[in-house]
Amino acid sequence: MTRLSAFRGALLPVGLLIVWEIASRAGLFSAVVLPPPSAVAARWFASLLPALPHDPANQSYAAWLLSGELPHDAVASLSRVLAGFAIGVGLALPIGLLMGTSDRLYGLVNPLLQILRPIPPIAYIPLAIVWFGLGNPPALFLIALGTFFPVLVNTVAGVRQVDSIYVRAARNLGANSWTMFRRVILPAASPFVLAGMRIGIGTAFIVVIVAEMIAVSDGLGYRILEAREYMWSDKIIGGMLTIGVLGLVIDGAMSRFNDHLLRWHRGLER
């Protein structure tokens, strides 16, 4: 049953690859417009391998293995995502928790939030460059921004929707405000917060690619834009696929992490 559905799922992509390969080789379109999959794969493997032979005096074997262009770019992009994500969450979480608990603060901040929220992080690029120049700072700013809003909005909603019955039960059992916050409000809001973080890291991953096209000189986003200047379509496509796989891995990891933290949650019953 599962083997059958796996086979069915593979049918279309594999078929497409074959048709694409044949069409390219038959000269239906030029290698610049659409290089054959085999060329993409070859180029991809080449960029995976270290450029220089291993020199034990200079670097460890592991570092050498990762010294190829592709591993280097993937690590660069990933570190930016994680750093920007950490900054965004680090700011959004406390602000969101405060806004969720205090109606006053909510009334004060929410209108501003609603005005700023619909502005896509990408629209901040010119301002980010004016403020931070080029290099990592504007990239991190944009990624943090892309993370900030989804996490903030979800955290606020999460805290505000906490069922009052839990609060009453905890007060009845003698909980003070700190215990209430730490052991009741926070876990009760966590499904929302984690959903926000999952959206946030997805946005961060989109933003990192764009930011790298503009502000820095390594990373997957930079690499595919660089490849365009040389008309290396095979390299562009290889880079795109790498970005896709990496995004899938990040989302999958986040989703498994959430499932683990929310194993108590009714919605996860399968």
Binding site: I165, Y166, R168, A169, A170, R171, N172, L173, G174, A175, N176, T179, R183, V184, P187, A188, S190, R263, W264, H265, R266, E269
Partner: protein
């Protein structure tokens, strides 16, 4: 002979006279309790001038249809919502806020779903700052008492309604409060589970000698459980009848005395139920 034997070995028979706790520690004195929700034309008098004195160790059922103020009164004793007028005192001290000396069991269980059964039972002990070893012992003992020993690692979502309510009771019992407040705790359970838990509650009550204030709209449940039944009127909630149940435990729901009492109470409650229905049909009920 057989009957006496049965009575003697029945699980929830009280064999000794009441208070083992310090005299008065579990007394509740309700005086002129009134509660108005809202203001102006929309104001609803949920509770009006209710006065009652509940001695420690007594099992009291508050009985009445929806909107008779029985939950309002319970919430006031719990300290969740202050009265508009009047006072409630426990052991002589006015009730001002919720506290673990008046453990509450909710109809909706109100277990913390992110905590395991064990963590739920332990929650109040953690707050109280009970030492780890002692808390372990208490949790083990209470869980054993309620048949929860094999479920300590489970999350509430994996338990049936009856098991959840056992956890809710265990969570309260762990703190050994003099008073237990129960807001239609078995209302959402099927009839058989309900009867099992009623017997369990009576057993616990006999063993731990708690004062229990129990809200229900089931006449049979009230007669089966209570020492004393207080019938409240529909809006404004006043005391309509305050009676002692003259039946020995365990009570036989099929006996003539039981049913005579049931008939009498049904008459009282149905009068109020009709007023409730009337109000609902004319649209003056705001619930």
């Amino acid at each position: 002979m057989t009957a006496t034997l049965m009575t003697a070995t029945a699980p929830h028979r009280r064999s000794e006279p009441v208070p083992a706790a310090a005299p008065g520690a579990a007394d509740i004195a309700i005086e002129g309790a009134s509660k108005v929700f809202g203001t102006g034309d929309g104001a609803v008098v949920a509770l009006q001038d209710v006065t009652a004195s509940i001695p420690g160790g007594q099992f009291v059922c508050l009985l009445g249809p929806s909107g008779c103020g029985k939950s309002t009164l319970l919430n006031a004793i719990a300290g969740f919502s202050p009265l508009t007028a009047g006072s409630i005192r426990m052991a002589g001290r006015p009730v001002v806020d919720p506290g673990p000396d008046r453990g509450m069991v909710f109809q909706e269980y109100a277990l913390f779903p992110w905590m395991t059964v064990e963590q739920n039972i332990r929650f109040g002990l953690d707050i109280k700052g009970v030492a780890r070893a002692e808390a372990d012992a208490i949790v083990a003992r209470i869980a054993g008492k309620l048949g929860l020993s094999d479920f300590l690692g489970r999350f509430p979502k994996d338990l049936s309604g009856g098991m959840r309510q056992r956890v809710a009771i265990a969570r309260i019992l762990a703190l050994d409060p003099p008073v237990m407040l129960m807001d239609e705790p078995f209302g959402a359970l099927d009839a058989l589970t309900r009867r099992t838990l009623q017997d369990e509650l009576l057993r616990i009550w006999a063993e731990y000698r708690k004062t229990i204030v129990f809200v229900t709209h089931s006449i049979e449940e009230a007669i089966y459980l209570a020492d004393r039944i207080v019938v409240l009127t529909y809006r404004p909630g006043r005391m309509k009848r305050d009676l002692m149940v003259p039946l020995a435990r365990p009570r036989d729901t099929a006996s003539a005395e039981f049913n005579a009492l049931k008939r009498e109470l049904a008459g009282l409650v149905m009068e109020e139920q009709q007023r409730f229905t009337q109000a609902e049909l004319t649209g003056s009920s705001v619930d």
